[in-house]
Symmetry: C2
């Protein structure tokens, strides 16, 4: 399901990356682990919030959760620090080849990213079009611009191509999103 | 169990704060919520990491976790942004009236706080001596100093009194730890 479709992607397939590209979360965790080991940045995925209803204690030290529910996250999945800057992002995959449905992000997550920006942090989305094997970084500025100017329920691929930044997929780091952050926010090379 | 013992604390008791001081996590969540609403800072507690073993799907939309375990957290409980600065801390309560057992913090959590400092963030511990009704902020610098200079399994109250900062407990915000961060890191008023 995650295999590349396009010609460009087929070329990539010939390079054996093992279990590369299993999914976006996996790639980001590997990338963040690389950043950590190389002492480039400290970024972690937050645990999934869970509402615990029932816990068993078969022994003093052991606890087994017997009943729990998934909760809607209050914030985004990833945050951390890069070159003294607070960074914060949400990462999503879509199976659509044409657009990213906004229903994939909660309104309060967008609000959260806007707040982060307001307080001087770097906030963005990472969106993967799985079938196209393309992963984009979209800043909160571009996302806010879209939401304020388009009355649509999804963001077209075209908007990502024009306003977002395609993240190179490599062996290591798999998804070097910080190289884009570096260019946008530290070197001012990208608009 | 959380009621104050000392004379100073007894005075405080006469002020009715409702469910005030139920526990440190509650106080910090209230405080962070105040900071958020007042637009002072964006700080959240991370969810507890849980390893899910078994999930039931009684309907398409509903998922019930039937078996799961608590995991050891990779990082600290709290992080966020204050005045463009990344902040990160761990919060712990102890029932001891004399010292804080270091077994309460995982070695990798201390390593994490040291990394945050190295990358230009603000890292610290918040430790409450529950029986004394005293809550201290201890910077990672002071913690590292202790670990490098004392071969002890717990940090004496005296060290907190001298090297840490007592956090005032108020009605709102309950535990104004950012006023201390402001003085240490922004105004340079405290050493």
């Amino acid at each position: 399901m995650n295999y590349p479709l396009g010609a460009k992607s087929t070329e990539k397939k010939s390079i054996s990356y093992g279990n590369r590209g299993m999914n976006l979360e996996y790639d980001l965790n590997e990338t963040n682990n690389y950043y950590l080991i190389q002492n480039i940045a400290v970024v972690y995925k937050k645990p999934t919030p869970i509402k615990i209803v029932d816990v068993d204690y078969p022994s003093r030290k052991e606890a087994i959760i017997k009943k729990a529910y998934f909760q809607i996250p209050s914030t985004t999945d990833y945050n951390g620090i890069y070159k003294e800057k607070y960074i914060d992002f949400e990462a999503k995959e879509t199976m659509s080849s044409t657009s990213f449905p906004l229903a994939n992000i909660h309104a309060h997550q967008i609000k959260h990213l806007e707040r982060i920006k307001e307080h001087g942090g770097i906030a963005f989305l990472i969106v993967r079009f799985t079938k196209l094997n393309k992963t984009f970084l979209l800043t909160i500025d571009s996302l806010s611009y879209f939401l304020n100017n388009y009355d649509k329920k999804s963001i077209n691929l075209d908007f990502f191509e024009k306003q977002g930044y395609l993240i190179d997929e490599k062996y290591n780091p798999r998804l070097d999103y910080l190289s884009i952050i570096e260019k946008i926010y530290f070197k001012g090379e990208l608009k």
